[in-house]
């Protein structure tokens, strides 16, 4: 894969107040970065400076960003990769609503209000027939409709990825049904099935065991020079990546949650074989201007050497 074909994505973690290095740093960024206007501006600058797309968890803020980008016609040719469910938001909601039943009720009401006929019918069918897969597909359809409503019908929604907490929870519980329903939900949406995981070798092994094809799927997983969150080990993650030719693996946490210096981080990622691309969060305009060009040049150097 040439450097030009690498998919460089701007991520939304900084907009959500996330710093995996420390909460101190997240607080130090201030609240500006978490406003929709500022976040949209950073995404827009990133797009104009080499970013090919936007990877985001589906929530009110990211939807506002998409809405702004649509109005500015800034995202027309860019790839959108959406992560659902945004577990952080749902866990907090569950705390407020008194656990899973309260949350389920709230989500059901939102699905009905969305007027997504397929989601409503599929959800009703799932509820009546105890079909958990149907409920899952209804929910994912609802999330897709939220994205399309905000980003516009012509937006290039490339993949719907399962959030890492859900992917990894489903792996732990051997929830084959969820992965199958996820593939179906993506097929119906015309998107590539995507998985966000911190346990890449286990994900690949399980999908193969269940006969769920990885061809054409998108996998976002941590890859960084420190092996941070590359479970069970850096070596095993690299080995799986090396033999995964038919999937599109996107590296995240390339800075080891802010612990690596930028040049070391990029050098490591650029040398990895079979990587489709990388996602990086930016919290300042100057970062948005330089990050993706630097990353692209590193991929070019690695391809030339």
């Amino acid at each position: 894969m040439s450097a030009d074909e690498k998919l460089l994505l701007v991520g939304d973690n900084p907009f959500l107040g996330v710093s995996h290095l420390s909460q101190e740093r997240a607080k130090a960024r201030g609240s500006d970065v978490t406003t929709a206007d500022h976040a949209a501006e950073l995404v827009s600058i990133s797009f104009n400076n080499g970013a090919d797309g936007f990877l985001f968890s589906i929530g009110e803020l990211s939807l506002s960003v998409l809405n702004t980008l649509r109005k500015r016609e800034d995202a027309a040719s860019k790839s959108l990769l959406a992560i659902a469910p945004w577990s952080f938001e749902y866990v907090r909601a569950a705390v407020r609503l008194g656990g899973l039943p309260g949350l389920a009720g709230e989500v059901s009401r939102r699905v009905v209000r969305s007027r997504n006929i397929y989601a409503v019918l599929q959800g009703a069918r799932g509820a009546l027939s105890n079909d958990i897969g149907a409920l899952f597909k209804a929910y994912m359809s609802y999330e897709v409709s939220r994205v399309r409503s905000a980003a516009g019908r012509d937006a290039r929604l490339e993949s719907l990825l399962l959030h890492e907490i859900v992917t990894d929870m489903a792996l732990g519980f051997d929830m084959e049904w969820m992965f199958r329903a996820h593939v179906d939900a993506n097929r119906r949406a015309g998107t590539k099935p995507g998985y966000n995981t911190r346990n890449l070798p286990l994900l690949v092994a399980k999908l193969r065991e269940w006969g769920i094809s990885l061809d054409g799927s998108v996998i976002a997983a941590p890859f960084n020079a420190e092996g941070f969150q590359m479970c069970p080990s850096m070596q095993e993650c690299e080995a799986v990546l090396a033999e995964l030719g038919s999937s599109e693996v996107i590296a995240f946490s390339i800075l080891a949650a802010g612990h690596l210096n930028y040049s070391d981080a990029i050098e490591y990622v650029a040398e990895l074989p079979n990587l489709r691309g990388a996602v990086v969060g930016v919290s300042k305009p100057e970062h948005a201007r330089s990050t993706f060009g630097d990353l692209r040049r590193s991929f070019e150097r690695a391809a030339a050497s």
């Binding site: 959500l16 107040g17 996330v18 290095l21 420390s22 909460q23 101190e24 997240a26 607080k27 866990v91 907090r92 569950a94 705390v95 407020r96 008194g98 656990g99 899973l100 039943p101 389920a104 105890n130 079909d131 958990i132 409920l135 907490i165 990894d168 929870m169 489903a170 792996l171 732990g172 519980f173 051997d174 929830m175 084959e176 049904w177 911190r198 346990n199 286990l202 420190e226 092996g227 941070f228 969150q229 590359m230 479970c231 069970p232 080990s233 080891a256 949650a257 612990h259």
Partner: protein
């Protein structure tokens, strides 16, 4: 293979169950859940797992260990029934152990009679930064310990100031968020006594706004606790302690550890301490290490290095004293 039953399928039950499912030496065989809607769909959602309504349904399933992840107010009753019905001898209880010191003592006595492994979900003991701080303290890196300031902050109820009910169901802010900091202090410094109430200490810890207390040890260490679930800046819960010694200071939280003494200033981020090196990562790596240690203890009978019921009861004693409950 250790067969596990999860009692209560909320956030923590699901988290522990998924991690256990990925461990090579453990298997989740049953989930006990009172809410019918979760049972109804759980039967299809969790393949190979029996989803039952009553604790009595777990008897005879060959369960080696139970994880009690219901709300803290029910822990004592659940553990009592688990032992009475001989469902399992080994018990993990999510923090905090009980709703009072009295309940915690009863649970500890019942567990001691079983002679099996117990653990309370104080997973911060398995965090690399807090573990490193413990080692530094044991090595005397800051000399004689003089005092500490511990805090536990989250934004869980930052947007729900009026909703004390949900906080109360989780045991109140002290038991829900503060118990980690109290357990760490007991682990680091030994037994504590609550000193004269700090200004503003509530008679109860409702609503879930803020609690604080001063504590001391028999060796003269004086410390403070500050706990709140309404700190909007704390997107994720954060536990931290600043420890002052005769020769320096340690600042430690979930993310990093700083040692300042007359010889050096050193800082370790969790990345420096290989924090994420676990077989399976879900949530934070400390949960994987915690579950691994408990399952190994069940399988081998060896010490797990975490907080057992006795340690959990010590936390409850401090909380009760902070709340002004009679000893």
């Amino acid at each position: 293979m250790v067969n596990v039953a999860i009692i209560g399928s909320g956030k923590m039950g699901i988290l522990h169950g998924a991690i256990l499912g990925a461990l090579p030496d453990a298997r989740v065989v049953a989930i006990c859940e009172r809410k019918w809607i979760i049972r109804r769909f759980g039967k299809n959602a969790f393949p190979g797992v029996r989803v039952v309504e009553h604790l009595s349904d777990l008897a005879g399933l060959g369960v080696d260990a139970v994880y009690v992840t219901t709300l803290p107010g029910s822990h004592c009753e659940v553990v009592r029934e688990v032992f009475e019905r001989e469902i399992a001898a080994n018990v993990f209880v999510e923090k905090s152990l009980a709703a009072s010191y009295e309940e915690a003592r009863e649970m500890n006595a019942l567990a001691e009679a079983q002679g099996a492994a117990t653990m309370v979900g104080f997973q911060k003991r398995f965090s690399k930064t807090f573990d490193k701080a413990k080692r530094l303290l044991d090595e005397g890196a800051i000399g004689e310990i003089a005092g500490f300031d511990a805090w536990s902050y989250s934004s869980d109820f930052a947007e729900a100031s009026a909703d004390a009910r949900q906080s109360a169901s989780r045991g109140g802010v002290l038991r829900d968020a503060g118990s980690h900091a109290i357990d760490l202090a007991l682990w680091y410094f030994g037994d504590l006594e609550v000193l004269a109430p700090a200004e503003g200490t509530p008679l109860t810890d409702l609503p879930a706004d803020f609690s604080s207390a001063r504590v001391g040890t028999s060796s003269g260490i004086v410390g403070t606790f500050s706990v709140s679930a309404q700190m909007a800046d704390y997107r994720l819960p954060e536990i931290g302690i600043t420890i002052k010694g005769s020769e320096g200071r340690i600042d430690v939280n979930d993310d990093q550890l700083e040692l300042v003494n007359d010889r050096q200033t050193q800082r370790w981020h969790r990345q420096d301490l290989a924090d994420s090196e676990v077989e399976f990562l879900l949530g934070e790596a400390e949960y994987s290490r915690e579950n691994d240690a408990f399952i190994a203890a069940v399988a081998t009978g060896l010490d797990h290095g975490g907080a057992d019921f006795e340690a959990g009861a010590r936390v409850e004693r401090i909380i009760d004293a902070m709340l002004g409950a009679p000893a």
